[in-house]
Symmetry: C3
Subunit: 250 residues, 3 copies
Amino acid sequence: MRPILTLLTDFGTADGYVAEMKGVLLSHLSEATIVDVSHDLAAGDVDGARLAVARYWRRFPPGTVHLVVVDPGVGTARRALAVSSEGRLLVGPDNGVLSPSLLAAGARAVSLAVPAGASPTFHGRDVFAPAAARLAMGAAVDDLGDLCSDPEVRRTPEPRRRSDGTVEGQVIAVDRFGNVITNLMTRRDGTLEVAGERLPLRRTYGDASTGELVALTGSSGLVEIAVRDGSAAERLGLCRGAAVLLRPVG
Amino acid sequence: MRPILTLLTDFGTADGYVAEMKGVLLSHLSEATIVDVSHDLAAGDVDGARLAVARYWRRFPPGTVHLVVVDPGVGTARRALAVSSEGRLLVGPDNGVLSPSLLAAGARAVSLAVPAGASPTFHGRDVFAPAAARLAMGAAVDDLGDLCSDPEVRRTPEPRRRSDGTVEGQVIAVDRFGNVITNLMTRRDGTLEVAGERLPLRRTYGDASTGELVALTGSSGLVEIAVRDGSAAERLGLCRGAAVLLRPVG
Amino acid sequence: MRPILTLLTDFGTADGYVAEMKGVLLSHLSEATIVDVSHDLAAGDVDGARLAVARYWRRFPPGTVHLVVVDPGVGTARRALAVSSEGRLLVGPDNGVLSPSLLAAGARAVSLAVPAGASPTFHGRDVFAPAAARLAMGAAVDDLGDLCSDPEVRRTPEPRRRSDGTVEGQVIAVDRFGNVITNLMTRRDGTLEVAGERLPLRRTYGDASTGELVALTGSSGLVEIAVRDGSAAERLGLCRGAAVLLRPVG
């Protein structure tokens, strides 16, 4: 089987930095399949990277190496990590971007050594890509560094259940379509209160007419707010951190 | 031969949705070659997707599976399709994006079943990607669903020939360079009238000087208007649907 | 070993032009690994392409074919080139984008013939992609055309050393993060004077606090100016061509 390596960065592509990383990977391992996740994250958006990783890291087959370089702290003392978790391998800075894999049972993290001569401003090319290539070639994470027992873990804030049965949540992301994703999960009927609107929970976009607001459970299991054929974020003026309230029914 | 799968979506890449789809594809078929067509279509731009598909679907070798997920109707009753046409296989919503393949002689379309447990808001991951993987692994379209005899077909509007020999057309697309693409085809000399300008048909950009407007036959055989080293769409204030008139000469 | 082909264009992806090129490549050579460098260069940005090529062309393994189509002169009399240099092969217009490979010792360039029927406005698809595929399949550059002894070479402007020991340089690029890259190289300590600021040369971003300006040697060996967690280009109002002065110390 050909090794699979995925890449998530905030580098954009036009400057050629991502190409440098791909060149390093293919120089080590010319038969690798390199999968672009994205290079369009907002610069330094560690939480955006973490949420994207949460979506995709387990969707790839065991043995996949996920390289995540959203690294505003490059050139500071922050550690560099390799993680083994649920059969996947992940490489990236110790700033929380790898949290979804670190929170899984049995995860194991090591601190990567910085090779002599590595550019202090481009660990993607000189630290993370070589480590990812080694993992893809069959090295174990323990071959790459010393055990790291306290990697930085960032979590999506937990919703708070009030005594009256309602649940306080917040917006954790706005996607490309303007869909507003919250930290709420529910399998019950209910109403979502957000930005002065009261939205009954529905099943899918088709349950709303064009231009109408709709609240539903999205594809990652979280409650989200959408406008059919429009942007809920724009309509409601919402961004990350905005408050939402779930009022269960029945 | 390794199976080739292409992906066209309007998802952007930053949210991780495209990566989820790639993970599904590679979990079914780790040796596949996945080709990114684009994830930057304007949200819900079915006609833009259709025109892009028209450009590329037959450029790939027979056996290629084209996955096209520009799907503003996800979660409504619109059908999901798999198409076999001229040796290529296509998967996408029944909203017209697959029209170029459906219009070819011998095309065969089936309605995809929606698997139990599929997210009603993300058929790209749960319906289309698994179907594309099955086709890439050798399944026939007829293995995937029941024959669909009336798929939605969208067509580029036909130009209209007037009694005086001129041809009324319209702008169907504006490309990244600001080139304005019309629905006109001609092999004769003539003049294009658009936005108050009269442009003789020329052969290529080199027939104009920098900053000059030029009309010519573009790389897909359609008449287009360009500004050498500039944007014709901006210069002339044109967008999709704007009227153009071709006045043949001789 | 599977052939590796990289692609750098200014086409964007949404129109399907890049997909057409990928289809041509895979029709010739279905087992190729196609690597997207970028399709997001500013339209016609020959110097941006040249600087990106300088970064990545030698990072890929020998035998790699680099396809570079930033070609504002398509359809004019400009030549089309294939280059062999340091074991890599490059294909693109004769406008300077391939300069980094042409400047290496032993580089060999040929002029590509334009095949009959090639679209005069899309050499990427009809001239460069077929030539790249032939190289990837094992052809030598000399099989593709006649020797070109005077390809266009564009160079980054040289810094100028003044009699007082200071060095006059300029900004050659601004990257995605707003880092300002100059044409200066130095291994000595010193101070960079730019836009009214005097910045001591430091080692890495971690040597500055958040929001602070810092000058350092970047990952390609050139002096650059950054703002930790911000944009130096925005802060200082700098773009390509702006003057900088290096005042060595000691």
